[in-house]
Amino acid sequence: MAAVQDGQVESDAEKETKPDASNDVAGNSSGGARSMSPNAASSASGAAKAAAPTGPGEQQTLLAVLQFLKRSKLLESVDILRREAGLSDELDESQTNDGAAAGSASLLRRVSVGGAAATNIAATTTSKGAEDQPDVSIVLSAYSQQGDPALYQVYYSGLKNFIESVLDCHRAELSQLFYPLFVHMYLELVYNNHEHEAKVFFEKFSGDQECYYRDDLRVLSGLTKKEHMKGNETLLDFRTSKFVLRISRDSYQLLKRHLQERQNNQIWLIIQEHLYIDIFDGMPRSKSQIDSMSGSLAGEARREANKAKVYYGLLKEPEIEVPLDDEDDEAENEEGKPKKKKPKKDNLGSKNKKQDPNAPQQNRIPLPELKDSDKLDKIMSMKEATKKIRLGPDTLPSICFYTFLNAYQGLTSVDVTDDSSLIAGGFADSTVRVWSVTPKKLRKVKSAADLNLIDKEADDVLERIMDEKTASESKILYGHSGPVYGISFSPDRNYLLSSSEDGTVRLWSLQTFTCLVGYKGHNYPVWDTQFSPYGYYFVSGGHDRIARLWATDHYQPLRMFAGHLADITCTHFHPNSNYVATGSADRTVRLWDVLNGNCVRIFSGHKGPIHSLAFSPNGKYVASGATDGRVLLWDIGHGLMIGELKGHTDTVYALKFSRDGEILASGSMDGTVRLWDALKAFDVETDDFTAATGHIHLPDNSQELLLGTYMTKSTPVIHLHFTRRNLLLAAGGYNSQ
């Protein structure tokens, strides 16, 4: 698709993010987040300040933004941005003047394409995106300096010989250079129309690269013309973002000395231009340590990227008057009982009252008020929770499998309500189907005319508004015009979200079974969407690489999380609703702060697109599953990878922690559900050094952690859910082929 799209995604992202950031700085937060905007504005401006001491690349970016703003006649914003970024007028002028015709032309083109859309967007976002995505043409032109194409092979093999001859401890670290250098050198050759040399170069050295870059190499090998480079997203990513390497100081010195001795300017230039070498003091890392962290499209995360403080603790549960009617009934039976029970309840309450030191402030993100029905539901869930089974390695959960039969139209997504009463499926034929899995049938609310006839004072008015004639086991929701890739119930079970290939997210009412809102903003397929655990907010992410945060009553996004270098394949809310995790085809997981839109964590280590995410119930950890069949565990607080679960043989499409977090269940395309001992997996010793450097040595103990493997009958597992009593529900469509 990129071929014709011609970098439009890229430009869209910029258009939308940049002016918004500046708008916010101006305090011009129209629409969007009423409640949040003051905070957001201040933080965004903070971010802009942080970005102020810019390198040349970033300065160029800012200039591009200024240019754009000028053309859009947003003069006020221009002034503010200039002031914030500390750019002088002259610099701007000079840049504009000598800014090559090509650059401004391309800018002009992009503006004319999507100017209308950009003005619509009044949401806030981070200026982070800007940092990562400098102008396309500028980056392309960076390839114009070049040496003798015939010598590229000599340069590369010279470096290769050098790295192979150094001490073992340095070799592993310096070997990281191979892949980014290889790609950049190849691209330079292609860019400068040395097609034959490029081919030879590729053939000679592509075999040396790590196997987990195979997919990227395949894309690369198809690319032999300069014209092709413009439209290719993968390559744009590679050039627009600096590939990040972590190398110990010793190894780096070694490399530097070698390159200086040899006068190997070509390679030195590439390293300077396109690589970001994150130097650390201390022991060089081992090969396995490096391998576990690498694999992402743009190398490892910079260490600073994971330094921000994350409030991963849980929010205090709202206090609910627990002495219920039912309890009172029980109390009547026996007098001794209520006394026993009450202190217990108090205990529960006090536990909640104690503020988790890692928890965000209660009102950091404004959350919707609890309605009476929500409180009732909370009480129900607490009651259920008292009956839940304590799982552990010795007491594994029972598994119920929900098989979608006759799903010829192709089941693409499944969700189950928290109380496990409803199950919904999104299908490739654009339909969403909802089933009731309890004997209680699904009923619609009566039509408006009929509702008028109802006695509104009656006690059972809620019952009376339902139309008994419409009762059925399942309902079909029509509205999308493409496969429904993501689906999510609201916590109160009144709404259902679905995201589709048609670029919209739709909100459905489960009272009337009609579509309430179509959220348009992603102009490309939306791969996933999820409601916040407290309702009201939801997040969506798709092919346009930007995750958006929405509120159900706003038709425009409140936040846009830009930074991923490839499609966002899955989105997930943190249990405290203050953070959002996104998994991407760039093989990283990012954690975003809902408050200010900042990216607070980047987790690299997967070797394939990430298709499933799950937060542990205590909010401390996140698990991610990818197409490589591996599940990785991350400590959010420290920003570290703390575990690797190997066992699945195909894409992991579903992950879920048990209600108490003892067991992690993973479901995969290979038709198995696997249970892992999560407590043991998280019991990794992290000393200060590993925490500081992030160089953890992972024990290879997947087999010990694997508690069980459960087969299905040729049914890929695409959703997992633990009921409130810790019964594991799995779902998938039976595949007869």
Partner: protein, 584 residues
């Protein structure tokens, strides 16, 4: 590596481009064609790469035309229409020259539109739930699902399945035999196993048709005997079908002319066969079977034919099962049965006849229990490992229920009984114990048939010759024999005190031929009294008999107004059943 990578991609050659341009009426130069070809290749690859993400998000492994079209559409390229079918299109070579093409037949839309055989819409999408793993262990139920839901069979297998089921359930007995034989020997039918199991589970729907039930049971037998099949958890399903035939009050049994007894006997035999050969596949199977048999037996509401089934089932599972389930339950059950048998009203005639069946079955089971028990007494080298109920006591109790009809079953009974207490004197009998031991050692596995032969056909005049193995242990170790003696003697006083005088029961009619009435017979009488059992009326009806020794026991048995023997000649396997031929 690069070369290999390169070859993996589809290439559109320069000539193809030229050809296509020509067909569109455009003349293209070589250079342009080359450039175009290269670009087309690149765009194709790109589209293929993009389409793969649609496949991944649809959670499929197979890339469809639709995925590719979506990728094209998002690249603002016209989608390729007409290739939405699920089946792969055949790619064929033309006869002359190296020309390959996708076969794309014309579809006559008129015919299609006017077609009368409008296909049914596909089945409704639905969600079905089942508990797959309980507590993270094992499957709760066998996964033999309904065939209609699964159609992954190859054509040949499907045909085979249809032919076989048709032959087995059809009219032609010869065909059935062939089919069963094939089912028993075919090594390639593993994939069909669930379907056959499903067919067999159809016993529940044909309970009115004995013939069909019989055929299905034969099918079970064939499957069980097929050495190439691994039954796995399907054993459970098979067992439940067989149990159905054994225990359920089949619709066919309403008509007294239907010989459902034979079916039950056969099913019981089959059950034991499955159990002995495949019991290890399912843990706890034995206990489950026992439990369900016991449940039926202890349920007075169940018809007598179900009880009969339970008894023959237990009998088939071996004497230990009889001892564990039937024997302790007998006192309670006896009262019910007695009531049935004592009712002489005409309306009760049918039920009573059934009652006699049950009686007979119990008798046979008990008889074997005693014999096997006696045998087992002789087996352990040391006297330590005794079964909970000592044999003599058991015999006493059983005798109290069955009276002489039990004794008669042991045509050599007096000898057997006699010899037990008489054992202590055997060591004195200077028989060549070494020879006996050797014989026993050799014949260990064939003991039982020997016994049956003796019992049923030609009782030896002298037990000492007939049962060398019984004597063996006693002859060998004096300690064990003395313990037997002790036991019998210790129980004696108690029994005697319980009922010393009323020796009503005609044990006297079987005067032990050997000299010295064994203490055993005395015990029986006493026990009888203590239980205040009136004995069985029909037993009293037979007249004085000629001395036992002079009659072959078989003949004698026939003179009984017997209970428990089918009047019409039984089939061979039934015979074997009653003659206690058991798989050991």
């Amino acid at each position: 590596m690069a070369e290999r990578e390169e070859r993996r991609f589809a290439e559109v050659s320069r000539d193809s481009v030229k050809l296509m341009a020509e067909s569109a009426g455009v003349e293209v130069g070589d250079e342009v064609a080359a450039l175009l070809a290269e670009d087309v290749c690149y765009r194709l690859r790109e589209a293929a790469q993009n389409s793969s993400q649609f496949m991944r998000h649809a959670k499929r492994r197979k890339l469809t035309v639709e995925d590719f079209n979506r990728a094209l559409r998002w690249s603002n390229v016209e989608a390729v229409c007409g290739y939405g079918a699920q089946d792969a299109l055949p790619f064929r070579p033309a006869k002359e020259g190296e020309l390959f093409f996708v076969e794309d037949r014309d579809v006559n839309l008129v015919n299609l539109a006017l077609a009368t055989n409008i296909p049914n819409g596909c089945a409704e999408t639905m969600v079905r739930v089942h508990v797959s793993y309980l507590d993270g262990k094992g499957n709760l139920e066998p996964q033999g699902t309904v065939p209609s839901a699964v159609q992954s069979l190859s054509e040949d297998l499907l045909k085979y399945y249809q032919q076989i089921t048709r032959a087995i359930l059809g009219e032609d007995p010869h065909l059935m035999k062939v089919a069963l034989l094939d089912l028993q020997t075919n090594s390639k039918i593993a994939a069909l196993l669930p379907y056959f199991v499903y067919v067999i589970s159809g016993v529940k729907s044909v309970s009115h048709d004995l013939e069909q039930l019989n055929r299905l049971l034969h099918m079970v037998k064939s499957l069980v005997q097929n050495p190439y099949l691994y039954l796995g958890s399907y054993v459970r399903s098979l067992v439940s079908s067989v149990m159905y035939c054994i225990l359920e009050p089949l619709a066919a049994s309403i008509n007294p002319l239907n010989d459902h007894w034979t079916l039950r006997d056969y099913a019981a035999l089959l059950l034991s066969h499955i159990f002995w050969t495949h019991g290890d596949l399912v843990s706890g199977l034995y206990h489950q079977i026992l439990l369900s048999l016991q449940k039926v037996l202890s349920d007075p509401v169940r018809p007598l034919c179900s009880h009969y089934g339970a008894v023959v089932g237990l009998h088939a599972l071996g004497w230990k099962a009889v001892e564990r389930v039937l024997y302790p339950h007998l006192p309670a059950y006896w009262a019910n049965l007695q009531a049935v048998l004592d009712d002489y009203s005409v309306s009760n005639a049918q039920v009573k006849a059934d009652g006699h069946k049950v009686y007979g079955a119990i008798l046979v089971a008990v008889e074997r229990l005693l014999k096997m028990k006696a045998l087992s007494l002789s087996k352990p080298a040391e006297g330590g490992d005794w079964t909970p109920v000592p044999l003599p006591a058991m015999y006493c109790e059983l005798y109290s229920f069955f009276g002489d009809s039990l004794a008669v079953r042991f045509s050599t009974g007096p000898e057997l009984e006699g010899c037990l207490p008489a054992l202590p004197c055997q060591p004195a009998d200077a028989r060549k114990e070494t020879v006996a031991n050797a014989a026993a050692g050799l014949d260990n596995s064939r003991k039982m048939p020997q016994l049956t032969a003796n019992l049923n056909i030609s009782p030896r005049p002298d037990g000492t010759h007939g049962f060398p193995f019984i004597f063996r242990p006693f002859a060998r170790s004096s300690s064990s024999s003395s313990s037997v003696q002790r036991r019998s003697s210790s129980s004696r006083p108690g029994q005697r005190s319980a009922g010393p005088s009323r020796d009503v029961f005609p044990k006297a009619r079987f005067p032990p031929p050997q000299a010295g009435p064994p203490s055993f017979s005395f015990l029986i009488g006493g026990r009888q009294m203590g239980r205040r059992c009136q004995g069985r009326r029909f037993q009293t009806s037979f007249g004085p008999q000629p001395p036992l020794a002079s009659l072959p026991p078989r003949a004698y048995a026939h003179k009984l107004p017997v209970i428990g023997r089918v009047s019409k000649p039984v089939r061979r396997w039934t015979c074997s059943h009653y003659s206690l031929h058991l798989p050991l």
